[in-house]
Symmetry: C2
Subunit: 218 residues, 2 copies
């Protein structure tokens, strides 16, 4: 059993080639959409040829699905590192909101892939078993925080975990996904560094403010 050098350069390296295809394809799909992305263009941006795309992935659609799965897997890996269990409910939910903000900020290609997938009515996500049940962990976390917060009397608003997750995601997602049209219409790039901290704080305040209620309601 001759072991292959893991670090040194090899003329032929299936893993490396596969990974490079996925990498380039992710950028291409995120930038131009599924239909707009060109297989030839992806090939041109690699050190290998178009034939390899079909060798490893079979079709444009299967390549796209593979890109989606990889992107979601990375996201899931980050999510697992979140630990807010030791915090009091108000701080836990604020921290979760801010971490979600950071996460969306750091994975813009992923955001765009999700937006693209929605245009296609999530048909590819639904096709992939690897992507089913991906939402459960966050919902469990939020559910526990909400229970604690209601028990302590901090949270007064009735909303379930999915509602709260949607509220947080909507803010973080929109800021990245709609930066271009919003920028064109309102003359402000919400993803610019000078707005980052303020908006990050805002999503935390917004969520906490909603759950805790305010003096303005009769």
């Amino acid at each position: 059993m001759t072991s292959t050098p893991a670090t040194a350069e090899r003329r032929r390296d299936a893993d490396r080639t596969r990974a490079e295809i996925l990498d380039v394809a992710q950028r291409e799909f995120a930038r131009y959409g599924y239909a707009g992305a060109r297989v030839d263009e992806i090939a041109a941006r690699m050190r290998t040829t178009k034939r390899m795309i079909y060798y490893y992935f079979g079709s444009k659609e299967r390549l796209y699905i593979a890109v989606l799965e990889k992107a979601y897997a990375e996201v899931r890996a980050v999510e697992r590192t979140v630990d807010v269990e030791h915090l009091a409910p108000v701080e836990a939910i604020r921290t979760l909101a801010e971490l979600t903000f950071d996460h969306h900020d750091a994975h813009r290609d992923f955001i765009k892939l999700v937006a693209i997938e929605n245009i296609h009515q999530a048909e590819h996500i639904r096709k992939s078993e690897a992507l089913a049940g991906l939402g459960a962990p966050v919902l469990d976390l939020i559910t526990r925080i909400l229970e604690t917060g209601r028990a302590s009397g901090d949270f007064v608003t009735e909303a379930d975990a999915i509602d709260v997750h949607m509220m947080i995601s909507a803010f973080c997602f929109f800021r990245v996904a709609n930066q271009h049209t919003f920028g064109a219409l309102f003359g402000r790039d919400m993803t610019a560094p000078e707005h980052r901290d303020r908006l990050r704080q805002m999503v935390g305040e917004m969520t906490v403010g909603y759950l805790c209620g305010s003096g303005a309601r009769p």
Copy 2:
């Protein structure tokens, strides 16, 4: 001057043909994206031919821009009917949030077109002069509400009109635009009728809650 019958059917009717092309094209672009939409398919869904698309619009891209302009124009028309000036600031902002919700709910094609436009980095919106300065009216309105609310002491949070508009839009937009991936991951169709009223109330509470602050902050 022979006047043409306005209501009766005519074999040739430029306005009608033009309008039908725009209508069919809007559905097609909203459903498949710019690159994914097929000119032939648009033609097949009309009672006229593909030739007419080029006769009236010149190219696929110019047709797409015309669709965008029409969609934005309709939206603007609705926006002009909003009158919340006579309301107290808290109710004004809540009403604005709920109206925005209704508006997004009622114009789903428009939402999808905006999502598509973001994938293309708003290049078409930027090309169209008809779409510049479209954001100003809402911002003026929010600015006035915020001023009144701060003067009365109802609003304590420091956020400007663009921030508030983004917060409201994000929620309403996300619910419609991301319904498919969200549904696939969390098993809930946020656009389903049984969630509508709750989410509508939620966006109002959320915005008011944020602006008025809550007891949870030190």
